[in-house]
Symmetry: C2
Subunit: 331 residues, 2 copies
């Protein structure tokens, strides 16, 4: 039986997450029960939503409890199967958490084809972040060709896909990212422009980059950037509220001052979570895989080596220190 | 030629509206040009949207300019017609402004049947406020029977109709109003409950009045009441942003702190203006007239006598001093 390592929740963060909120434990890998599969995880995905799990506040789903293994999506290989649909060697994505080995019910696994794209992509542009971009943009944003789409955290896991999808659908696309290096990268993905929120006057820069105003805003960050966008939204425009990362670590919420723009411009603002389109995942998976195969969906990964680095990786992600989809390479 | 009196805009208010922002002028009534109709106005409607017209900020439509007659909807009689569809004696509603006599293009007039309901109702529950309630609730709120609908400014022109429509459509309906007298009245309209925002803890009172949370919130006021509602909204609930009257007179906008609820609860928040459903007005007019005829849509009016009182009436309306649909009786 191989040895397992797992990060468990030691305490709830008050404000910013710290490494001391987690505790690494070692034990023999567990054995699958009937209907379960033992997965050896090769990649762990780190995502902003994880901050919400480290809280006793109401959120999408139940949070992690003290002593529990921290939740997270992994990509890996089946080691042992007690489920009829899986056999050892299958490549899968699984909600196996921050650990090297996890037992997961067969129904919770997704089989993925590592010959069509790198395995890690199934945690990013071909996984939850990619599907989030696809359904949020298509179903809530519903951009028409020629419209202007703005996305914040544009070099992040979701933002990269949002922008390239919007380009593929005929829109003018403007990203928002922090720092010259990220902005240069975002432009290299084919965005028409990328504005650095850390430099200069964001309102002035965005106004210049969006001469016809903004029809669709894909919101990942919240805070003052949201207020700035509300000043630039067009009549009957749409805002997809996918994330508000600037608020996640705050003990006090930012007060949105330009709410009045929603009234004046008859904006539709809608919160989303990708689970709401679960029955349509195959549609998104196929569309995204086709774009990757055609070279029209480029994707950058930010890789940390070793499970030990997972807490530091999440902390950095929540501060915007990552550059591209944040992953931890486990083996 | 009869003598006309008209309120013109003397200055833009900075913050709260004052009487000195308006100037009363007298002149002979104008003569209609080809295609126009001279209307003698009997009733003038005062509405919160008028605050937006007294501003050089971007809003729905162009604001009033200095020296121009203040805009407003009136109900009255045709005195002289140079339009083929109208003749003297016809009862109409018209965007004739704050004056006794106005020339209006025939296309801008709506013929109304004063034998089926009091003429003034066509400025209220059978007019713009009624249609605003109807389309906002039906198209954005889309309440299902058994759901909980909350409406602020519940004793106001729009709020009264929202609540009674929602009751007619099988919902639990909770109003928010200021003071015991207004709340008693709102309950007498058939609302299941009405909460006094001026007394006690609004969150606690609303939570008690909405044991299953809130599915649809029809927003007329904004400010801290909006933040309180955001704490009570259910998963996949809807907020119709019809008005934000608490902000209209402020020089600094209120900061909405609970924006995160839109994400966590996947709320749809949408701004509206009734003009967007212009081609469907007959549908709303008929539905509302049927409810009035059946005694299922009761309506309270707050009547000021004489054009001279119009500025004071608007100032009071913006402070929530009116009780029911605010009108000025002109003759």
């Amino acid at each position: 039986m191989p040895q397992n390592k797992a990060w468990t929740l030691a305490s709830f963060p008050a404000g910013a997450v710290t490494e001391s909120n987690f505790k690494l434990i070692e034990s023999p890998a567990p054995s699958p029960k009937e209907g379960e599969v033992l997965v050896k995880s090769l990649w762990l995905s780190l995502d902003p939503y994880m901050r919400g799990r480290l809280s006793q506040q109401k959120s999408y789903v139940k949070g992690v409890e003290l002593g529990e293994v921290m939740t997270g999506e992994t990509a890996g290989e089946v080691v042992e199967s007690r489920h009829p649909r899986f056999k050892p060697g299958d490549t899968v994505t699984a909600p196996a958490g921050w650990q090297l080995y996890g037992c997961v019910k067969g129904e919770m696994l997704t089989r993925v084809d590592a010959s069509r794209a790198p395995l890690s992509y199934y945690l990013g542009c071909l996984g939850m972040p990619g599907r989030t971009a696809y359904f949020g943009l298509k179903e809530i944003g519903a951009p028409k060709p020629g419209e202007t789409v703005v996305v914040s955290a544009a070099s992040g896991a979701v933002g990269m896909v949002v922008g390239q999808l919007a380009k593929a659908w005929g829109c003018r696309v403007v990203g928002i990212a922090g720092g010259k290096e990220k902005c240069d990268y975002v432009r290299s993905l084919g965005f028409d422009a990328c504005v650095d929120y850390k430099s200069g006057d964001l309102y002035v820069s965005l106004k210049e980059a969006c001469p016809k105003g903004v029809d669709v805003y894909f919101e990942n960050v919240g805070g003052p950037i949201l207020d700035t966008l509300l000043r630039l939204m067009n009549l009957r425009s749409r805002i997809i509220v996918c994330g508000l990362i600037s608020d996640y670590n705050s003990t006090e919420s930012y007060g949105v001052k330009m709410f009045r723009s929603i009234l004046v411009n008859r904006i539709k603002v809608q919160g989303m979570i990708v689970f709401d389109w679960q029955e349509r995942y195959p549609e998104a998976n196929q569309a995204l895989l086709e774009l990757v195969a055609a070279g029209k969906l480029k994707y950058r990964e930010s890789i940390l080596e070793g499970l030990e680095r997972a807490p530091r990786g999440l902390i950095g992600l929540l501060k915007g220190e990552n550059f591209g989809k944040q992953l931890v390479k486990l083996a």
